[in-house]
Symmetry: D2
Subunit: 467 residues, 4 copies
């Protein structure tokens, strides 16, 4: 279910064939699950940067006419955004396109700069003005300031990374260069692919490469800066690599990423299946069928079924026409809203003892409705299995995990939660098992939302558990 939202997906392309805006359009559509609030594309035509960005989904903001107007350049940057910090609307849409001492650049960003306030104050003292509330503006300032004493834009990006703290994957496009960078901890994913004609592509997830028929090449390293220049030559700067322990957000595997993506060498779908297997191993139950809550828990349900031998069934129809805007006037219409979104397939669940696999329980209200809808459809028993531990700590790295007081874990024990959602049994994946779900992944993980052990903290924040 849609409970958490990471704030962004980013995309960059170098392609001499010139259909860069069209490619960005399709790639952003493949990244749409990472942000549905606004989107934008900036293109580079003959060293001039043009862009369009707006609130709305990719296929609302862009139509054939707009894409054909933007097409024709050899580089493009794209962005989809979900706002986390109540920073809304058009004026915070990305990419941010700016003029500065060396001309223009565009920047798109995924993550959260945790020393935003410090940098903002520092720059203000020398006369900076701010027209948005987005990290991108702080990043742009940092690069622009570093550029004064750097002999190239890529060097300015490398040097900027010493000032920027937190989670960030970046694409920067200057008149001459396309640059991808990932924070030294690699908290947010970023990968690189190749077009058949030698063109270079960067994207938050590999599914965006598939969408434009680009071949996955590799992940950008934590701390790495990769530069593409005219002609397609690729150079890597590793000055900031290795400075920090890598800490990829483990929730990318559990929930954020699309199931057909590969992140750090680990297929997301396989990770989810493994989570399901581990869950089944530790938390067996006698039941007739296993079902997953679409879409993100379907892989884990598969794993649970494979491990337990209990057959998997399609449990729900998810209505894909239900969009963002929606009537929620009162309790009755809110219940109808969930009902129209997710309907049990009665023939499959009637009279069955059901294992229902989901990825999380946030406030509990949605889970309670889903369990009830299964019982209404005739399920004899409903055993809820969650393919992650309960998250208990806020995330400072660009997701919208609710604050402590909204998390059911802080109000109820697991047994109370079970009662609240109306399940016969309720079990979570253990933290130890969670750490095993991405065995192919080359990096370490950030699991702060489960453990409170933050790889890096805003200077003004005392970790939640200790306050």
């Amino acid at each position: 279910m849609d409970k958490l939202h990471e704030e962004c997906g980013i995309f960059g392309i170098y392609d001499e064939s010139g259909s860069t805006a069209e490619s960005a359009y399709f790639a952003l559509m493949a990244l749409q699950h990472r942000g549905q609030e606004s989107c934008g594309i900036a293109v580079n035509k003959n060293r001039q940067i043009f862009h369009h960005k707006e609130s709305g989904l990719v296929n609302e903001v862009f139509n054939e006419k707009r894409i054909s107007e933007l097409n024709g350049g050899h580089m493009a940057v794209g962005h989809v955004r979900y706002s986390t910090l109540e920073k809304r609307g058009r004026e915070n849409a990305q990419p941010l396109v700016i003029n500065y001492v060396k001309g223009m650049f565009a920047v798109a960003h995924n993550g959260n700069i945790i020393n935003y306030d410090n940098l903002k104050k520092k720059y203000e003292k020398t006369g900076a003005i701010y027209q948005t509330e987005s990290d991108s503006e702080i990043i742009a300032y940092t690069i622009a300031r570093e550029r004064i004493n750097s002999h190239s834009i890529e060097r300015a990006v490398v040097n900027s990374m010493k000032h920027l703290q937190g989670a960030y994957s970046l694409i920067v496009m200057s008149p001459e260069k396309l640059i991808a960078a990932r924070d030294p901890r690699g908290i947010r994913p970023l990968c690189m692919g190749r077009l058949k004609n030698g063109g270079v592509v960067f994207a938050s997830e590999s599914c965006a490469l598939d969408a434009i028929n680009a071949e996955f090449e590799r992940d950008i390293l934590p701390g790495e800066v990769v530069v593409v220049v005219r002609g397609g030559k690729v150079t890597s700067y590793k000055d900031n690599c290795g400075a920090e322990k890598s800490a990829l957000c483990i929730f990318e595997y559990v929930y954020f990423a699309r199931t057909d993506s590969v992140i750090e060498g680990q297929f997301v779908h396989e990770a989810r299946k493994l989570a399901g297997r581990l869950l089944a191993k530790k938390n067996p139950v006698e039941a007739d069928i296993v079902i997953g809550v679409p879409d993100s828990a379907l892989g884990a349900a598969k794993g649970y079924s494979l491990e337990s031998g209990i057959p998997i069934e399609d449990g729900f129809i998810r209505n894909t026409y239900v969009g963002r805007t929606f009537i929620r006037a009162n309790q009755a219409s809110r219940e109808k809203a969930v009902r129209v979104k997710l309907n049990p397939i009665r023939t499959n669940v009637k009279g069955q003892r059901v294992v229902m696999v989901d990825d999380s329980i946030v406030r509990g209200t949605t889970s309670a409705y889903i369990v009830k809808s299964l019982r209404d459809a005739g399920a004899k028993e409903v055993h809820v299995r969650i393919c992650a531990p309960p998250y208990s700590y806020p995330c400072y790295y660009g997701t919208d995990i609710p604050s402590k007081k909204d998390l059911i874990i802080h109000r109820y024990s697991i047994e109370e939660t079970r009662k609240y959602i109306g399940a016969d049994t309720l079990e979570y994946l253990t933290f130890d098992d969670l750490m095993k779900i991405a065995p192919n992944s080359a990096t370490g993980f950030c699991s702060a939302c489960f453990t409170g052990e933050y790889p890096v903290l805003p200077t003004d924040i005392v970790p939640d558990g200790e306050a």
Copy 2:
């Protein structure tokens, strides 16, 4: 895959609680798969009929403000439309709301009146004028004319059915009554449900009842007219029942209906699983996994897996953010368009011998792409299994099966088709097996698109095979 489109879904509600517009909104959203071109809702407030209709999806055309303006009446009629005969846009949107000799009524319709031209000419001769190109207008004229010599609106509807030929499920709303009617052959589905407060609901499919928490009561009989009056009393008129052999469109089970609906006592999902089982029985193959093409073939894939013992796997990610408007400028962008819509899950198909179950092959181009995408993702073999026979004849009852010349079956033999789409093997469900997929269904079936045996023909049409 989205290949065929039935033209409409209809909905009617009698509910003293007054939130009839809101219920229609959610119900139409559940019926959205039956028509994405336009939609509309008409409500009855104190014997006055108000309505809004427009091109677009339900959640584009209606927002909270509009629904709250329409709310408050005790009856409503709703409609979603997909245009079949190049009759486009706003002016053909339904429900049609008219004034006539006895005041007002609204009518919504699913199907196709095959003697439209005859009736149109007949009425013209006495001065009729036409402002739309939709069947609803002919239906409204027929009812209005019958009303002159009928003592009630429901009697006028009953009498009108003697004039209307073809496929039609209707909802009519007058100042005092809500009326549902189904053609004597029952070609299009129509069912009835109950609200907890005793309210009455009619809908094309039971999934719309689920969406508003109404309980399924029964299907409307072929030829039946059901009337609800103030207070909720329900009366049935069966004058036209039994006059014709029942002939429910079998493709409702294969493709059109939502998998969680029950039509004529038969769960759609079960019918699809059974189709898969039968397909597996007749057309076994040695393979490693079975995958279904989302969404309509997933049930059949499940059945194929169960019967064959070959494990089922998730084969594709379907991008639900891809809407109707879409860039299709050239071959390359068209291929990207399919690619972004449906992406193989590489980890599942790599190195595997794959049975790919789909519901139909129309022109073959999409199937060819999908097979190719599986091979690109590493599939060793791709065995295509289609859970219906090839359709060979045009449909006159409200679906958009392409004309003969566009059907691949008329250009290629099955072996040629196999080569064209690049499959290792290709098999279709036999017609005899197709007739077995809905064993619980109480009705006979129309299978004209497979056999050319039409239950009723437009007077000016010579069946395709004989021309």
Copy 3:
């Protein structure tokens, strides 16, 4: 000031050059003062009729793309509409385009059919259905029914006029013909012009001819039907001419028509100047300047000045950017709304004894504000002169003169009115003088709104004065 609104302007063109939609666009813009609620254009391309209509001003509803799509035919019909009877919005927009026994036609109408209800009931009894609330639909039905026993569309129009009572100027466009018709009393204007290439044009007012560089030829006679066929041959049918006493709405000269139009041989501007002269002759006053309230009273002010010898001055700036949508939340914002619309030119009125000429006083509130604004700007005296008598009776012929209870004349005596609006003196043109303002006009006049003597009455209406 904008107080009254006639409901429509109509336009028809026969032009082999093919830019008929563009000509209609410009002509409707010139007729925009006759209706700002909705507009539409229907064109005839190779005997097919295409159209677009929508709520909004001409330059909001039509853009370059739409006009170029509609261009290319040899005939077009256009319409601008102001709704009088609370019949609002898109569904009542014109032209009405219909199918009927002989194919298609489009019809546009200006006026009011007073036996609408009778005809509606009559047709309903034979099965007619109504989708709009506009006279055009009744007119279309009447023509369609007459067409059954007429050998041509023009003959059907001629015969229809025997059934249609009230005020109407019509343009009808069939696959082959363009037809203009005017009711036997000629209550609404309709004229004919010629393009340089021999093309024929019909329009409510001659200013629309000027806009497309057509030469004024003549007015359509009361009761006349004029037909243009392929090749441009023009035929006139006078069957209905002379049956009734002609009765052109005198208020066309006073207020409705544009000042640069010629109606029935009388320049509107000259009629207004003459009204001003007659007003000055009967109602002299010692003053320093004469000013007119823009736009319709400027001509009368000129006449008042010429007759009295008191110099004319520009009195107000009218803000032409103020559109229809407007904030009117409360009394204060309503006053600001009038203020921003009409601002005195202080330098001209300061210290002056002012004669302010206006065309009418409806509710009195606007007049009171305007007088106050002149005093605020320093006027020493304000003498109000109205270039028509007070209107006292409702209009049944397509204008929105308010009902009796809203007319100030029914609440206040003239002296009380003077006090209410804050004028030093207040005088109206006498009815006898009003009858003299269009000496060149070939027709008689309808002056029912002043006298209650209606040329024709709805059968269910008892004249206001006698009730």
Copy 4:
């Protein structure tokens, strides 16, 4: 006629009553003639600044809902914009609202900063980034930088003026203060008024004060900074006054300003009448009537008539429904476009010897059409009188006088121009007479567009005449 466009109108209000957004809405409507491309309003509610800005006219961008959302604060800033330097659209709309070292401020600007490039480069060198192409951003940077070493925002504004060269009238709104400033030469106008409740208003022209019933108090002095603080106390800073010779743009009187405004003590309407008188004195002609081209030349026509004794007549109907968007596909449609905009009143000009007064001749094509339309309407002679000298030099201060090569004066002699536009005689106001048209004005004038004598020049520009 619409030939030149000044780029902006600005408005600021301090009003404890709280309807500041509504007042800004009406005031901007009164200033709409100064800019029709985009507009915006920023309000201050409890020290927070909220704003909305967008492309479009005031009554397109703002509706009742938006205004009521913005209402409730005690200060507001508004702006209407016409783009001069191909800087288009939404992203350059004003007011600009920024965060900086001391919190927030909003700024709106009318004029042109001629050392924009120098300042931009200077700030870039310390790390500035630019998100727009508007002067406002440079102004905001300048103030933000000055604020670092100033103890107050008003002091920062005063100090900024030492850096800003060119023409500028500004409104700045901080959390606590409303500040108006005018460049030391006073090139663009800016005045101050009082509400009845003691509130303070600033506006480009006094007509905006009239619109909201504020009383004109005085013009802001060239170089002056006026500050309003909570409670309504007004303080004036004159540090920059007197440093330069005052140089109000003389074309404000001729064309830009609304005729009911007072600028620097001179009624615009009187200035225009005087221009007409002087024109008549120097360039008499034997004729029957004088007409003015609406709207800006109507005052001068009045003056010409008064001086010459030739009676004034209404010459044209200007169609106020013709908006900005318009079909101009080809020569024929362009001519129709002018025709529908301005139509001669035939009855007034037929058979007459006409003096036609206009304010300028730019490219000559429009003038030629207008003269032709008068002859088509029957004018015997057309004597064109222009109430300003031909302008010959580019404007660097925020107007869009075309470049030299587009000015007819550089292609034709006056005699050739006369022939080109088809006039019988053609005369311009002399420069000496132009200098006399605003005798009450307290300031000197900028007349660079006529003389090439620029009060201040961009450092990189060599005056046109000398290049």
